[in-house]
Symmetry: C2
Subunit: 318 residues, 2 copies
């Protein structure tokens, strides 16, 4: 059993690769829900949907969110009627949100709803939210000398990541309830945990912030491998590099490795960062250098294969 920890795009791309090379039943993708929020009466789960749409092959190939071939007649009408139009909900995307709300309203936990939706999309691997109770990422900011705190989507979508970040808070994390299906997996035999190339601060940190997951990882008997989300000093997608700078860290694979510290046992870094191999190895972390830019499904599967081979190697050493 391989457990992948995933945020949005980077997570989804590696998940697609892992799903291509692992049989159903041998892969669980645990997805960040810190970005989730309530909007227009819907529970929006950006990372869960990105992973689900990508695994189903219906994701928009460019944007990193939403559906391919999406239409916007609902949204245009909302705009015409003076409704909130800062967060885009496509006509097809709405179907998932309506079904999700109905099911949550019936009292089903988010994990059950997620498994059901994935099933409707024909996905045979297991996608689970990190928590069945709301965990909400709050972004601490400094704007013009004034401290502030923003809901994640306010920061990410409405303000387009412009405010300077000073830290994060994961509201609800302390009392987060891990899905029963995930608790079962954590009690069972896990071969490796793979941290996908997702934002360390707002995609992976919220997962670590869930007490049951943190405790489980601390007491691990399996290796934790991480694929660096920083390649050549820049984030492949999203604000990770900008956040690192604002937090006083140099955006680099090395700095990300230092940031994760003991939480990661081995690193997969991009070939463009091969020169950092020795310095990361000095942190006592085995390093695999690979082509980590998953620009298509074949490259995703290729990287997944190498990551899994590396995990096998580490296990044999242990």
């Amino acid at each position: 059993m391989i457990v992948a920890l995933a945020g949005g795009v980077g997570g989804a791309r590696l998940a697609v690769g892992l799903a291509a090379v692992l049989p159903p039943g041998a892969l669980t993708i645990v997805v960040n829900t810190g970005d989730d929020f309530e909007h227009m009466g819907f529970t929006i789960c950006p990372d869960l949907d990105t992973v689900m749409y990508t695994l189903a092959g219906v994701n928009h190939p460019q944007t990193g969110w939403g559906r391919a071939g999406e239409t916007w007649n609902f949204m245009n009408e909302i705009r015409r009627l003076g409704g909130a139009d800062w967060f885009q909900l496509g006509d097809r995307d709405l179907a998932v949100h309506v079904l999700r709300r109905e099911a949550l309203h019936r009292g089903l936990p988010l994990s059950t709803v997620t498994l059901d939706l994935a099933d409707r999309f024909g996905i045979r691997h297991t996608i689970l939210p990190m928590s069945d109770t709301p965990v909400r990422t709050r972004v601490k900011t400094m704007v013009g000398g004034n401290k502030g705190e923003l809901a994640f989507q306010d920061y990410f979508v409405r303000l387009r990541c412009r405010p300077r970040v000073t830290g994060f808070r994961f509201a609800g994390a302390r009392s987060a309830r891990v899905p029963a299906a995930l608790a079962r997996i954590m009690r069972g035999c896990v071969d490796a945990v793979v941290i996908c190339p997702s934002n360390p601060f707002v995609s992976v940190a919220p997962i670590f912030a869930v007490p049951a997951i943190r405790t489980w990882l601390k007491a691990r008997t399996f290796p934790v491998l991480a694929v660096s989300p920083i390649v050549g000093g820049v984030a492949v997608k999203g604000p990770a590099a900008k956040m690192m700078r604002e937090l006083g860290l140099k955006p680099s694979t090395l700095e990300v490795a230092r940031h994760y510290g003991k939480r990661v046992d081995a690193w997969v870094i991009d070939q463009r960062d091969a020169h950092l191999r020795e310095r990361i190895a000095h942190l006592d972390k085995p390093v695999l250098v690979a082509d980590t830019l998953m620009t298509n499904a074949t490259k995703s599967a290729g990287l997944a294969q190498r990551v899994l081979g590396f995990a096998q190697q580490l296990k044999n050493v242990k």
Copy 2:
């Protein structure tokens, strides 16, 4: 002040005519909410939306429900994902439903939500639901010798009006709360009430079933005029004639006039039913013969003009 009582299409068409010839502030359209139901987490108000869309000029000209130039990408996706697809919600139509649910969820009464939506559509006349609390039409049926009771939309949409009707029940009517804005109008000076050519059993009867409205109409000092929904023995639209037959009534303007009895003071009947003029007049009801088939906005306005002239005449006589 003219108060129109309206159901769906017939109500909407006369309302458009009345709106064309009356200044805003001189027309209130009270709409049946007995057809309303909860579906996919939305409060669906078929008659309110038909009236609103028609007054806004965005209604579908053929179907009698929904929007012109509607698209179905949401619905097709719901179907693909195995969701409930028996009730059609178009992509543009969804905008109204999402905004309505949000507002109702904030605790606003349906009347406030309706006035706000109408405002967003640029409608300058007053559209009000007959009740701010749920009234739900239940259709009593006889199928294969078995008595049954159906929710209105189950009867109307899912079963396409096939079951034989034996009666109706308006659940919630007894405790229905008339909107504050309507209560104000009822306390004020009303020149006439116009019953639009809507289904007597499932569009107008639910409005009569609201105690405050019934009491107000009983104690009236203004004339109540009705435009017959039956023309030449058939319903212009919908199951009114079928229902009359099943209830043991001959589908005719005369029978409708008998059915309404004292609740109506004067009748507007179609020129195709001119031969019934005398027999209706024998019920002690003044009759106006007119072209009541409102196949376009000009004809709607023409009929409205004649109805209002007739009301003026009746008032002068009184």
